[in-house]
């Protein structure tokens, strides 16, 4: 996998765009997932995820090939998400509502496509609630929680992605967990 990624990156560096399409295929779900969990909104997530890939393509020369491509790519994506969250902070609560509605339409779409048993629908509602609670986390806790528990990345990699010391990542994971504990204990 890593060898294939390295090969594709070399092709992209030579100017081959179709090699980049393969990289997008490989990582689109993970990048989209990070963005969706960070932003809690499908449209915004798609927009930011696309932007992340475009930035990666444009700045591919700055990528250090000795390192992991996914770390670099996720870093671009999380930075874009954090920027977006900071920009919309003043009307945060309004947006949270919108985010919830977005999630609803998304899940009802899925439910329409694939026939869901009753308990699945219930599960969808629960998922929506969880996403809402994740969206309520302050952005500095949200990013570490998403990377740790949704992308299931090791703390060391999270520290590289977010460009902060391991100790800081740990502290944020701890605080994020405590915040989630308080928010989700009634469930």
């Amino acid at each position: 996998m890593e060898a294939l990624v390295k090969k594709r990156i070399k092709q992209v560096l030579k100017g081959d765009q179709s090699a980049f399409a393969e990289l997008v295929e490989l990582y689109k779900d993970k990048v989209f997932q990070i963005c969706y969990r960070m932003l809690g909104n499908r449209h915004e997530a798609e927009d930011i995820a696309q932007e992340a890939f475009i930035r990666a393509y444009v700045n591919i020369e700055t990528f250090n090939q000795k390192r992991k491509f996914s770390t670099w790519l996720f870093r671009i994506a999380t930075n874009l998400c954090i920027d977006r969250i900071r920009k919309k902070k003043p009307d945060y609560y309004l947006d949270a509502e919108v985010a919830g509605t977005e999630g609803l339409t998304m899940y009802s779409q899925v439910a329409a496509d694939v026939q869901m048993p009753e308990d699945e629908v219930e599960n969808m509602e629960l998922q929506e609630t969880i996403q809402k609670e994740i969206s309520k986390l302050p952005e500095k806790y949200r990013s570490v929680i998403v990377l740790k528990y949704i992308e299931e990345l090791p703390l060391q990699e999270i520290s590289e992605i977010l460009d902060m010391p391991l100790g800081t990542v740990k502290t944020r994971v701890h605080r994020g967990r405590e915040a989630l504990r308080k928010q989700l204990k009634s469930l």
Binding site: K14, G15, D16, Q17, S18, F20, A21, V24, E25, K28, D29, V31, F32, Q33, Y36, R37, E46, A49, Q50, F53, I54, Y57, V58, L126, Q127, I130, Q131, I134, I145, Y149, I150, L155, K170, V173, H174, R177, E178, L180, R181, Q183, L184, K185, L187
Partner: protein, 210 residues
């Protein structure tokens, strides 16, 4: 509750991160057995994590890759050509073959721009015209390149004129065929035919030897 050592919460988190020391882990376990509040706290933490982890993995929209590719700055033409060549090796090989084939055929065509003809003592040359004089007999085939041929005598084989004309006088006789070749295409055809003919003759001679 008030008696709980403060570091217990930290130990819980270290435990959840998977980097707790065995000494701390022992302390935490001992404490949890005695303290219901901490047990509850620990349980809630694990429940919160389980909830977050239970969120199903969502996929990017179907047209995601295309949308990204559409938004990328345009690539250089050269790369597109190179990639096309890489993806169509058979066509590339065929194109290369054709290129070299036509090259070599035209090279042999151009090599023969000089006036030349089959050597025979009976022949007389007048201004790029090969003349078979009256009364003379040329035994075998006669080929003239880039010149005309005038036959007043006799040729006991084929007469081939490449890039030229042949005049057969009323008294002249040719026992074989008379051919005029002008265009490059005909020249190519002639090359192929004579090649095939040579091959057949060679094959026949091989058979004869047996």
């Amino acid at each position: 509750m008030k008696t709980c050592p403060e570091e217990m919460i930290d130990y819980m988190h270290d435990y959840l991160d998977g980097d707790i020391t065995s000494e701390h882990e022992q302390k935490l376990k001992n404490h949890l057995q005695q303290c219901e509040d901490c047990q509850h706290h620990f349980h809630e933490l694990k429940k919160a994590i389980a909830f977050v982890q239970s969120t199903s993995h969502i996929s990017a929209p179907d047209d995601f890759t295309n949308s990204v590719m559409d938004r990328l700055p345009k690539e250089k033409k050269k790369v597109g050509v190179e990639r096309w060549l890489r993806h169509h090796p058979m066509l590339t090989a065929a194109a290369l073959f054709l290129f070299f084939m036509t090259g070599s055929v035209f090279a042999s065509w151009n090599d023969n721009e000089d006036f030349s003809f089959t050597k025979n003592d009976a022949l007389v040359v007048q201004d790029h015209t090969v003349v078979v004089p009256e009364g003379e007999v040329v035994n075998g085939d006669l080929t003239v390149r880039n010149g005309d041929v005038k036959i007043e005598g006799k040729v006991t084989g084929d007469v081939t004129v490449i890039n030229g004309k042949q005049y057969l006088a009323s008294a002249g006789t040719v026992t074989g065929d008379i051919k005029e070749i002008d265009a490059a295409f005909e020249w190519l055809w002639y090359q192929i035919k004579s090649g095939a003919k040579d091959l057949v003759e060679w094959g026949n001679s091989q058979l004869d030897e047996k």
